[in-house]
Amino acid sequence: MMAAVSLLYFASLREVAGIETEAIESVASDLQGLYFEAQARHGFKWPQASLRVAVDGEFARWADPVREGSEIAFIPPVSGG
């Protein structure tokens, strides 16, 4: 089953991907799978366990399903403050 979603990249993920956002069709069943697809596409070095994930502007769980039309952000370790 395909889901059309948009992905957001920040900091070093954006640097490696070369883009801030992309609209894709995913066959992943959960957000973890979605990251693996993105990782294969862009060559991210970050293991999934080092990242957090957010959906539509709120933290989500890696085991959450991929919902059609949602906006997913992969959150690398933060360094504010």
Partner: protein
């Protein structure tokens, strides 16, 4: 009213402090994070903060609300800069007013510690040798 904000220009410290004054408060504590000229042995000449704004604002707001719930304080605010900052510039401001100083100090510490841990903001340092790098610490110690 939002108690946590991102700012793309100089933080209004005077205005924030005034907003925290209250007749019930006998104590005010604040923290300021300044841009330092070195990190991990390298000379830094400036930095850039980037945020996932929608989530940063929500998570920052949650943190300040948690401080209000956990500590006997009257009011609390936090502002975090985004964009380019020079050495010595104010990057983050936390202020807390309370009846007594213990709770004010504790809540202030709580807010900055949690912001550093949880809020989706990233720092990119520009080094004197011309290099630049995103910071992604995987574990934070109090010295960070």
């Amino acid at each position: 009213m939002s108690r946590f904000e991102l700012a793309d220009s100089e933080i209004d410290v005077v205005g924030l402090r005034l907003a925290l004054r209250d007749e019930h408060a006998g104590a005010f504590a604040s923290f300021e994070g300044w841009v330092r000229d070195h990190n991990e042995g390298r000379a830094v000449q400036g930095l850039h903060y980037e945020a996932y704004a929608a989530l940063a604002e929500k998570e920052g707001e949650r943190i300040v609300d948690e401080a209000l719930a956990r500590f006997a304080i009257v009011e609390a605010r936090c502002v975090h800069r985004v964009g380019e900052l020079r050495i010595g510039e104010l990057a983050v401001w936390v202020g807390v007013s309370a009846a007594h100083r213990g709770a004010a100090f504790d809540a202030c510490r709580y807010v900055i510690d949690e912001v550093k841990l949880r809020v989706p903001i990233w720092k990119q340092e520009r080094y004197r040798d011309g290099d630049a790098g995103w910071l992604h610490p995987e574990s934070l110690s109090p010295k960070d």
